[in-house]
């Protein structure tokens, strides 16, 4: 978008848009443009919905992009079976409240084998229950475009990602062979079987996401806010101990403290942080003074160097 931030002169000064800063308004406009472009050019788009804060923003912007028309594509949640139970409840509530066309997919192979992130290791578990499961679901739906909430500021390998990220028929991402992306002109031409992953929030930062959630009053899973919760310390990670799927290891003790989560995924792989941030304002304060990166609590990124890059090559979102 060449234009500077848009200013909407509203008939009602209390409307939402007047609360967005010009900066956030410009980010929202850019994301809406991307949503509409995909809806116009692709036959079978789908939106990956992970229930996290970025997905919540993505969903909200999608509603704004098409309103008063309902979102003209389905949502897909890849459920590993090990998500925080609060996430699943939130997901189902959101789908009901907004009347969403939500599909949930779990890899039947992993479910049959009883795969566990604790027993089988985070790397293998993620391969099967996230990467392989996602490929299964995308193939089954014959989707030619899949929206995701990834941001370029999340991880070094993400920083080179296009907004339209081209994938081969086997879902692989070739960093060397991505299409040049100029202005706001996205090349959506693909051959049969190929697809694109689309990232409308590419240019948002973690801080932008929180400020937008605040301004737009977007509901998010309660686990983002600090509260006294039971946890165990495992491999240096703060693992929530509210779940019957968690078996204590010898020597482990259930503790309690004020914790929250900066990113949400599988409860076994998403470590919490000690925090007193009970409101969105507290969280914004916390991250503007934070000295660790957002994905620091994520087990999958720590397996080995270049971990995210490797997963992306294989088709991880």
């Amino acid at each position: 978008m060449t234009a500077a931030a848009a200013r909407l002169q509203t008939t009602d000064d209390n409307s939402h848009s007047s609360r967005l800063s010009p900066h956030l308004q410009a980010l929202e406009n850019e994301a809406i443009h991307i949503f509409r472009e995909v809806a116009a050019e692709f036959e079978r788009p789908v939106m990956l919905y992970s229930v996290g804060k970025d997905s919540s923003v993505l969903l909200h912007v999608a509603r704004k992009a098409f309103w008063p028309e309902p979102i003209p594509f389905p949502l897909l949640h890849v459920d590993t079976g090990w998500k925080f139970s609060q996430m699943i409840a939130f997901r189902d509530q959101t789908a009901r409240d907004l009347g969403l066309d939500l599909n949930v997919h779990t890899n039947p192979r992993g479910a049959a084998e009883g795969l566990s992130p604790f027993k089988h290791g985070s790397s293998y578990f993620t391969d099967v229950m996230k990467t392989e499961a996602l490929r299964q679901a995308l193939d089954a739906g014959r989707y030619d475009a899949a929206f995701g909430g990834a941001r370029r500021d999340e991880d070094a390998s993400r920083s080179k990602e296009r907004i339209f990220s081209f994938r081969s028929p086997d879902h692989r991402w070739d960093a060397r062979n991505q299409r040049p992306e100029l202005w706001n002109l996205y090349n959506g031409r693909i051959a049969r079987g190929e697809s694109v992953r689309v990232f409308p929030l590419s240019n948002w930062t973690e801080l932008d996401v929180w400020q937008y959630i605040k301004a737009e009053e977007i509901p998010i899973v309660d686990l983002y806010f600090a509260k006294r919760r039971p946890f165990v310390l495992r491999d240096g990670m703060i693992i929530l101990a509210e779940d019957e799927r968690l078996e204590l290891w010898p020597g482990e003790v259930r503790q309690e403290g004020s914790i929250r989560f900066r990113t949400l995924g599988c409860f076994a792989l998403s470590g919490g942080i000690f925090s007193e941030a009970e409101t969105i304002d507290d969280i914004i304060d916390e991250i503007t003074t934070a000295t660790v990166s957002e994905r620091q609590g994520r087990a999958i990124d720590r397996d080995e160097a270049g971990s995210m890059e490797k997963k992306k090559l294989e088709g991880y979102f």
Binding site: T2, A6, T10, T11, L182
Partner: protein
């Protein structure tokens, strides 16, 4: 100057204070800029230093960086370049091979920096980074002076419509902070840039490695320099100018959730639109009135450039994706032939007469491209040419089978820019900017365009009468 001001602070002069970015800047928008230069110019070090000194590097990343040691310098500083190398293969080769976007902020402003490669064959990445940038930082090694590469970068940046440049004369410490060296480079660059056309230039002597004049002024060593530090120049630079044109909105999508609602969705590209305005649907020329401007947050009376909205008209009209809604008194350029400047992006380059897909503001059209001139970056002039290799800048004419609508790129980016897509590979082969309408040209041949299912096309091509004239038939595969 007071005595205090002579003392160099150990830490950068500002801290991240936990406050959100100030939104009192003229338009509140973050500045997008790109940094051009080669590995040898210290580009990665410069960007790494910007992130480091603005405290944009998280503690766990800092720790990883320090653990990796400081192979490339003897100042016990981390290797800032490592901050930027996202992909393993790049780390191994020691070069950045793609465009990477970095995000950082100061208390005054937020920034997106496009890190683009300096090697000649990667002009495509520079053009990509430049297409969305408000400003370019051109990096020069003070010891080497202006190189052909810097001129090339400046020309591309200017071509892509960027009108403000920071000339960062790096490694000034390695020439003994010599003012004469800096002055010579600045003068030579200004002379070169004047030939390109209008361009606002700020030249800054600095040392990315030592952090001098990046965020912290180097008053002791560069006492003769009174201009801004790099960060000051970036904080005060205006964002790209709004288009001065009247209302433009390419239709992105027609929304028809039910019989009673028909909305035209799009992003306002120029000017503004208000309820009651009469607008023209180009290219058909029908005129309608705006009945409603619909947003999720309620109807609005007026929408300005940049806003993503849905328009409802007072009556039914035949308008579709790719049409452009325009002010009634200022319609865009309409015709079958246009002149344009473009950058080639793929190894095959571009050949005279190539038939390609053109994508611009919601439209996908077939186009034939005539090549007229290539830009000789070394000599700084246009020369006659009928082919363009990869990474070339060319002047071309675009020929459409039916009327097309554009604005001059210099008037409006959103309605003046286009990409060319190969029907064979589906890859983006060029990025271009409309210059003007061209003389209508006829190549003396009659054209019939047919869009057919694969099996039917095979059948027709197999007919004896068609087979005999096979050489006159051109086939463009569809998806």
């Amino acid at each position: 100057m007071s005595l205090d001001a002579e003392i160099l602070p150990l830490e950068p002069e500002f801290e991240r204070d936990g406050e959100p970015v100030a939104t009192d800047h003229e338009d509140g928008r973050r500045l997008r800029f790109l940094v051009c230069g080669s590995v040898d110019d210290g580009k990665s070090t410069l960007i790494g230093r910007l992130l480091w000194d603005t405290k944009s590097v998280a503690e766990d990343h800092r720790a990883a960086l320090i653990a990796k040691g400081s192979k490339q310098n003897d100042l016990s500083l981390p290797d800032f370049g490592l901050l930027l190398d996202g992909l393993k293969a790049e780390q191994e080769q020691g070069i950045t091979i793609d465009v990477a976007y970095r995000y950082f902020q100061t208390p005054r402003r937020a920034f997106i920096v496009a890190d683009t490669p300096g090697h000649e064959q990667y002009t495509r990445n520079m053009a990509t980074g430049a297409s969305t940038a408000d400003l370019a930082v051109l990096l020069v090694d003070a010891r080497a002076g202006l190189l052909e590469q810097t001129r090339r970068h400046a020309a591309i940046v200017h071509l892509m419509g960027i009108r403000q440049v920071v000339l960062a004369v790096n490694k000034i410490d390695l020439v003994g902070y010599d003012r004469a060296v800096f002055d010579d480079i600045e003068l030579e660059f200004r002379a070169y840039a004047a030939r390109l056309g209008e361009m606002a230039i700020t030249a800054i002597p600095l040392s990315a490695l030592k952090g001098e004049n990046i965020v912290t002024p180097a008053r002791e060593n560069l006492g003769w320099y009174s201009g801004p530090t790099l960060i000051e120049a970036l904080e005060t630079a205006p964002t790209a100018q709004l288009s001065g044109l009247s209302f433009r909105m390419p239709i992105q999508r027609v929304s028809r959730p039910g019989e009673t609602f028909r909305g035209y969705q799009g992003t306002v590209a120029a000017g503004s639109v208000a309820v009651g305005d009469r607008v023209v649907v180009a290219p058909s020329g029908q005129t309608v009135s705006v009945a409603r401007i619909v947003t999720f947050d309620g109807d609005v009376e007026r929408a300005e450039a940049g806003a993503a909205v849905t328009l409802v008209f007072d009556r039914k009209v035949d308008a579709a994706r790719g049409d452009v809604l325009t002010a009634a008194d200022a319609t865009p350029l309409t015709g079958r032939d246009f002149t344009a400047t473009l950058v080639t992006l793929q190894t095959d380059g571009l050949k005279d007469g190539a038939r390609l897909w053109l994508k611009a503001a919601g439209r996908m059209k077939r186009v034939r491209v005539s090549i007229d001139e290539a830009y000789d970056l070394g000599a700084g002039r246009w020369t006659k040419s009928t082919t363009l290799p990869v990474n070339a800048i060319g002047r071309v004419r675009l020929h459409f089978a039916e009327d097309a609508i554009f604005d001059r790129f210099s008037d409006c980016r959103d309605t003046g820019a286009f990409i060319l897509i190969s029907p064979k590979t589906n890859n983006t082969v060029a990025g271009g900017m409309i210059a003007d309408l061209a003389e209508t040209e006829s190549d003396g041949k009659e054209h019939v365009t047919m869009s057919l299912p694969h099996d039917l096309a095979e059948f027709i091509l197999g007919l004896p009468a068609v087979k005999a004239r096979r050489s006159e038939i051109e086939i463009i595969p569809d998806r």
